[in-house]
Amino acid sequence: MNQNLIAEQKVLEEVRKAVSEGIDIDPARIEPESSLMKDLGAESLDFLDINYRLEQTFGIKMARRSVLDHMEELFGEETAVDSEGRLTEKAARILSMRYDGSGSVISAGMDMDDLPAMVTVGSIAEMVMNLLDTLPENCTGCGAQSWTLKEETLIECGSCGEPAAFTNGDDLIEAWLKQIQESKKIF
């Protein structure tokens, strides 16, 4: 269900904080449209640090694997990336749908190593929001329907105190890909 306990602005604020601490840069430099790699100088390992901080902050599990990884796991090797490490036409189509409105131009033949540069502060905030929106109707511990907020960012059951069990990032990507395949029959 779409949760309404943590506002989008709060999520963005926490993402900026995680990025600032993860890369050790001045928060004033961080804008929603900042590319972590191109504008803020992040490296691939910094992404993991930022994810970890966000997981601790919100009690969620970010995806361990990329959309491309999931695509190849579901639909076969080289369906997303060809033997030269370049994006296939099908993968470009799917990523364009996923990042629609982000301003990123994704096209077939792109080097897959260029994709991480497209990750922005705003796109991470959106990922966090998507995970928070998987908040179940009822507590998995006691069945109660009374979510409350602890320390401004952690959702827990108001009845038994159990932390909310969100869908994890990998399962969310997989479900999205299956849904796209079901409706568009891309592969």
């Binding site: 993991l48 970890y52 190849e72 796991e73 090797e77 033997s83």
Partner: protein, 271 residues
């Protein structure tokens, strides 16, 4: 000759440490500089973060009064390794210590690896090390040099989503093999097997092994502790050690019984 008579043993010698722009490799590179050697700092990419970090390591080495050279090379590509060793030869004219530290691998269960990931795993973490050994042989032989491979406990214990462990195990066998085959050429080969080292890679590990956070600090080991053993193995004091893998893990792998862990409720409940 006694060890004391060789106290300047490392002075003006040359070490090449693969993958030394950060983490354990960086600590080893700085360890050689402290001991008195000049150091070639290998990093993966010619531009970007790894180059910036390699340049920083070089500056730290130079601040200790030693010479340093940063060389980008993808260890998994033979031509790239050849160019790296040629750069070492042009720069120094010698190579005394080759430390095979570079590693890169996906973190996922083996059954989920794609073919290209399996190839990369083998190319970078097995073939690449052998390319380095083959190409460096002439220089190492001239210097009666040492080869040290950096392994990890993943070579002998299961870790979730850690296919790199299988390559580490293969390389420990290569160490035993080369120690014998290269001994007649007076090249000594050993390995150092690190336990839980809190480098940048720890950020990856903790995403796949949640319980890792519960390993107490006293069972973790610092990059400098590994570097010290590498320097020891390269020194005359280790002249009797050949083809061995020395575990440096603060005792982590030595005991199954961990009363401190047992007191953690989140571990106890798993039975």
């Amino acid at each position: 000759m006694t060890v004391n008579a060789q106290e300047n043993f490392f002075t003006d010698k040359t070490a090449l440490v693969t993958g030394s722009s950060r983490g354990i490799g960086r600590a080893i590179a700085l360890g050689f500089a402290r001991a008195g050697s000049n150091v070639v700092v290998n990093h993966s990419k010619a531009e970007g973060g790894s180059k910036r970090k390699a340049d920083e390591v070089c500056r730290e080495i130079e601040a200790r009064g030693r010479r340093a050279l940063a060389v980008p090379a993808d260890i998994g590509v033979k031509s790239s390794v050849n160019e790296m060793i040629e750069a070492v030869c042009d720069w120094s004219g010698r190579l005394d210590f080759l430390v095979l530290n570079a590693a890169r691998a996906p973190f996922k269960p083996i059954e989920k690896l794609l073919e290209r990931e399996i190839r990369q795993l083998v190319e970078i973490n097995y073939m690449g090390n052998i390319f380095c050994i083959q190409k460096a042989l002439r220089l190492l032989e001239a210097a009666e040099g040492k080869i040290i491979f950096i392994s990890s406990l993943g070579s002998r214990f299961y870790n979730p989503s850690y296919p790199l462990g299988s390559m580490k195990a293969a390389m420990e066998t290569v160490v035993r093999d080369c120690a014998q085959s290269l001994a007649p050429r007076r090249i000594c080969v050993n390995a150092v097997c690190g336990g839980m080292v809190k480098t940048d890679s720890f950020k990856v590990l903790r995403q796949h092994m949640e319980e890792i956070e519960h390993i107490p600090d006293e069972l973790c080991v610092s990059p400098d502790a590994l570097a010290d053993v590498v320097i020891f193995l390269c020194s005359p004091a280790a002249r009797g050690i050949c083809g061995q893998t020395i575990v440096v893990d603060n005792g982590l792998s030595n005991s199954l019984y961990r009363p401190a862990w047992g007191s953690k409720p989140e571990i106890r409940k798993r039975g």
